[in-house]
């Protein structure tokens, strides 16, 4: 896999470096030869379907489930074999794992007390942290008396209390209601930016990863599929898996005709064909929002006529099923703005001219 091209990251030296990490559970490889660098102050998301190994990787970084082989370095030190208590991180779990019999204050102070800090210092620190996560008045309540979102903030404050060099978040927002989740997503990101703490978050929610991460590590079946900024991942997926997993994608089978040309049905499409030889079977991918309806007389490349099928109303736009004879009967989903639908008075069964901009088409080997 190609290394991530995080624009901000490259100039800094890696804070966390993972080299050839493998984790076996019996004969099952949960992680295979993972290598990854994470830079200081970066917010990185491990994104993938359940069972892809993202949580296993996080737990290996924390030392909670140490890898079978491979190296983990943090701030230049080899921490591969160290138990969690000898590493430098704070962690927040999906379940919050707040101590139910301790008040919010005592939960937040939990890691401070054992460090033999003066009582007044602890109290000041706890107050500061609770203010930071927006719960200044809730210190004397018990976790069970708080809402899920509030509990998650307390867990965050507790993890940050000891000023760790690394913050690990294991699906921290998954247990929350959709509304709270969106709100907290923003807050966590703001907090991370303000504190400048290097953060790794595990999530299966692509929207969460796209909105929060500086860089996303897309994982599947124990390997890294792609590392990149949200925009790179979305715009330029390196594998069919990433293209399919992030956002919505149309896939149609095709054959390479020559440099920059792929044939789909009776249609020759202009698009980039890196290193694929003529005659190779490929999968052509294009996002629904990149299916354009040409305006006026402007000549567009890759233009053809398609018949409109089902139109699903999704609020700000329609997602329409298109069927193009020229494409050999393969269906295509397209996002059509309300304006276009209204202006053309589109209905089921109408013919519609569409175009696929060549620079938006991705071609993957194999069908």
């Amino acid at each position: 896999m190609r290394p991530g091209a995080g624009q901000a990251g490259d100039t800094r030296k890696p804070f966390l470096r993972i080299t050839d990490l493998t984790k076996m559970f019996g004969s099952f490889a949960a992680l295979r030869d993972i290598s990854l660098e994470i830079y200081e102050r970066e917010f990185v998301c491990f994104l993938g379907p359940s069972g892809c190994g993202k949580t296993t990787l996080l737990r290996a970084i924390a030392g909670l489930d140490i890898q079978t082989s491979g190296r983990v370095e943090q701030a230049g030190n080899d921490i591969s074999a160290l138990p969690p208590s000898e590493r430098d991180f704070g962690i927040v779990f999906q379940s919050y794992a707040l101590f139910p019999n301790l008040t919010v204050k005592k939960n937040v102070a939990y890691g401070l007390v054992s460090r033999k800090t003066a009582r007044a210092t602890i109290e000041a620190r706890v107050a500061e942290l609770l203010a930071l996560v927006g719960l200044p008045e809730q210190g004397d309540k018990y976790p069970a008396q708080l809402s899920g979102g509030q509990q998650q903030r307390v867990a965050l404050a507790r993890a940050l209390a000891t000023s760790p060099g690394l913050l690990l978040l294991d699906e921290p927002l998954s247990a929350l209601d959709a509304k709270v989740r969106v709100h907290l997503r923003h807050e966590v990101k703001e907090l991370q930016r303000k504190l400048g703490i290097t953060t790794v978050m595990v999530t299966h929610d692509q929207e969460e990863a796209l909105t929060m991460a500086d860089r996303i590590v897309v994982m599947n079946q124990g390997v890294i599929e792609q590392v990149g900024t949200p925009l790179e991942i979305y715009r330029d997926p390196q594998t069919a898996f990433v293209a399919d997993f992030i956002g919505t994608m149309n896939f149609v089978p095709g054959v390479v005709q020559g440099p920059g040309r792929v044939r789909v049905g009776q249609l020759d499409l202009n698009c980039e064909v890196d290193g694929l030889s003529q005659g190779a079977a490929v999968t052509v991918a294009v996002r629904p929002e990149d299916v354009l309806v040409p305006e006026g007389k402007s000549v567009s490349e890759n233009a053809f006529d398609a018949r409109v099928g089902d139109m699903e109303f999704l609020g700000s736009f329609f997602r329409a099923d298109l069927e193009a004879e020229a494409m050999g009967g393969h269906g295509l989903r397209a996002d059509l703005s309300i304006n276009i639908v209204r202006r053309l008075n589109l209905n089921r069964g109408d013919m519609l001219p569409v175009a696929l901009p060549g620079e938006r088409i991705r071609v993957f080997p194999g069908q």
């Binding site: 050839d20 493998t22 076996m24 490889a29 295979r32 030869d33 924390a62 030392g63 909670l64 140490i66 890898q67 079978t68 082989s69 491979g70 190296r71 591969s80 074999a81 160290l82 138990p83 969690p84 208590s85 000898e86 590493r87 991180f89 704070g90 962690i91 779990f93 379940s95 919050y96 794992a97 101590f99 139910p100 019999n101 301790l102 939990y110 890691g111 054992s114 460090r115 018990y142 976790p143 069970a144 008396q145 507790r158 993890a159 209390a161 000891t162 760790p164 079946q221 124990g222 390997v223």
Partner: protein, 569 residues
């Protein structure tokens, strides 16, 4: 992808995880629990097995003793007797307890709380007590002797009646849990599909409680076949395995044959245990978070019938206890029915006197305090330690092993092991310590499983969070785990206390003149014909157990009130 999966077969540089101080301490504790189990269960059983293969001089003779056992009808007839008694008692107990549990969970009768308490009363009495009561009720001079016709209570009838009384609450507890966790939606579906009550019972109710029912059967069967007190008091000439061990060891000083009978008794107990384990393993929770609790609807005649049934059972339970209580005050049964306290003057009788009662209290207190501490801490380590998987699995197994060992067998095995002249632990023989160790071990499994259940409900990331905050595990253990698990810890301690008060089987071989126990004293007084003082001693045990139980209820209630704020959801 698939080809890549095979390519990483041999990892290059395997990581050897470094152990933290926490890891080392926890592993140390786990090993200690293992050592305890080896010393308190495995080695004694091994010594007993080898004893059964030796002659009186201590030389190895192979299966000679077994051959002798199976060629002596007076001995091997007991196998049939034990199995018969266990089978009949199990059928009766399960049937009675099932209807009682059904009434408590599936009817709208009044006074459910009181009926539940009454049904648990037998737990507070030693198993001798119902037997003594039945002697007063149906014995040669019994007040309702006529009800038995020409049959004698001294024999199988008396044993079965006693065992039913003694095992009733054990079966009831399991069946209540099984019946209480029903999904109301299934019953609504059955009604909407026009299934009649009988069909609903066989297609919804019975499958739902299948595992609980089977578990109850095994528990009762094992309790009966291993019980010693009831057949000892009321069995007459009807021999069972548990009394045979006693007779061989105490009566004839034939330790080898005692060991043989113990091995024979161990077999059904182990089989029942293994079968129960297999079935428990298959059980998965039928309830999901979307289940709707079953709520019975009032039906006048049905509820009334259920009330009548429970009242009858409750009356019988209280009547049996009441009979013993009454008899313990009677001056000279049945000729002089004046109520006096002379039967409580234990010091003038053989058996150990009042000292035996205080010894029992001491034993129960030590067992409760040390037992709870050891068992809960051990369960915590086994459940929450990081890595060390193989050893933890082995210790888990050792912790549930004691359940398969009948008390009589355990006690006899202790004689062989701890009284061995070459055993460095020989010095604890005849002391209170061996009684405490034996009793903790005897009741280890249920306590361990209670602790494990409570610990499993704790978030498994508490330890992860603590170590990330550099807080040693023992601080989290004392600040979080113990307070949150306090109800379960109290349950374990009361369970140990009550059982230590009432048990006879294991300790009968291990007490000395200095450490005579109340339950043993009752047995010996009954043996000597002092049946009224035996009843009195049983009642003292009952009062002590009941008092502690009441205290437990009050403490638990107070605790619930104090911790309401953080338990509320």
């Amino acid at each position: 992808m698939a080809s890549q999966a095979q390519a990483v077969a041999a990892p290059a540089l395997a990581v050897q995880p470094k152990l933290s101080r926490d890891d080392r301490i926890m592993r140390g504790f786990i090993v200690l629990v293992g050592v305890w189990m080896v010393i308190a269960v495995v080695l004694p059983l091994y010594f007993m097995l080898s004893k059964s293969l030796e002659d009186r001089a201590g030389d190895f003779v192979g299966l000679v003793n077994y051959a002798q056992y199976f060629s002596t009808p007076a001995l091997f007839y007991s196998i049939g007797n034990s199995l018969t008694i266990a089978a009949i008692s199990t059928v009766i107990t399960i049937s009675l307890a099932f209807i009682y549990a059904y009434a408590l969970t599936r009817s709208c009768m009044a006074g459910k709380g009181a009926f539940r308490v009454v049904a648990m009363v037998p737990l507070l009495a030693p198993s001798l007590l119902p037997a003594i009561s039945f002697v007063y009720l149906f014995g040669n001079q019994g007040i309702i002797k006529g009800l038995l016709g020409d049959n004698t209570i001294y024999g199988p009838i008396g044993i079965v009646m006693g065992e039913v009384f003694y095992t009733f609450p054990h079966a009831l507890m399991i069946l209540i849990v099984a019946l209480a966790t029903a999904d109301g939606r299934l019953y609504e579906a059955a009604v909407s599909l026009r299934a009649g009550p009988v069909r609903t019972f066989f297609t919804v109710t019975l499958p739902g409680i299948k595992y609980g029912l089977i578990s109850a059967v095994f528990v009762v069967f094992t309790l009966v076949i291993t019980d010693f007190g009831i057949p000892k008091v009321i069995g007459g000439q009807y021999n069972v395995l548990a009394t045979d061990i006693y007779k061989q060891v105490i009566g004839q000083q034939n330790f080898q044959m005692g060991a043989v009978v113990s091995v024979v008794l161990l077999i059904p107990a182990v089989l029942a245990f293994v079968a129960d384990r297999i079935i428990q393993g298959k059980q998965t929770s039928a309830l999901t978070s979307s289940s709707v609790a079953y709520a019975p609807k009032p039906r006048r005649s049905y509820d009334l019938a259920m009330t009548g049934y429970c009242a009858l059972i409750g009356f019988l339970i209280l009547g049996i206890i009441g009979m013993a209580a009454y008899a313990s005050f009677v001056q000279f049964w049945p000729y002089n029915l004046n109520l006096v306290l002379k039967n409580y003057d234990f010091d003038v009788m053989d058996g150990g006197g009042w000292a035996s009662f205080t010894n029992s209290l001491r034993l129960a207190a030590y067992t409760a305090v040390f037992g709870t501490a050891i068992i809960f801490t051990g369960a915590y380590m086994v459940e929450k330690a990081r890595g060390f998987g193989a050893v933890r699995g082995a210790i888990q197994f050792l912790c549930i092993l004691p359940m398969a060992v009948p008390g009589m067998v355990l006690g006899l095995a202790y004689i062989f092991f701890f009284n061995h002249p070459d055993n460095p632990l020989n010095f604890i023989y005849g002391t209170m310590a061996i009684l405490v160790i034996c009793t903790i071990t005897h009741f280890y499994t249920v306590s361990h499983l209670t602790a494990i259940t409570a610990l499993k409900q704790m978030d498994r990331e508490f330890e992860s969070v603590s170590s990330s905050l550099k807080v040693p595990f023992y601080k989290t253990f004392t600040r979080v785990t113990v307070p949150v698990c306090l109800p379960a810890i109290l349950d374990v301690s009361i369970y140990l206390f009550v059982n230590a008060m009432t048990t006879v089987s294991a300790v009968i071989f291990l007490y000395s003149t200095d450490t005579a126990l109340a339950s043993v004293a009752a047995l010996n007084m009954d043996d000597a014909g002092d049946i009224a003082p035996a009843a009195a001693m049983c009642m003292m045990i009952f009062y002590a157990a009941a008092t502690v139980r009441l205290l437990h209820v009050l403490v638990t209630r107070g605790l619930a009130r104090r911790t309401q704020a953080w338990r509320a959801r």
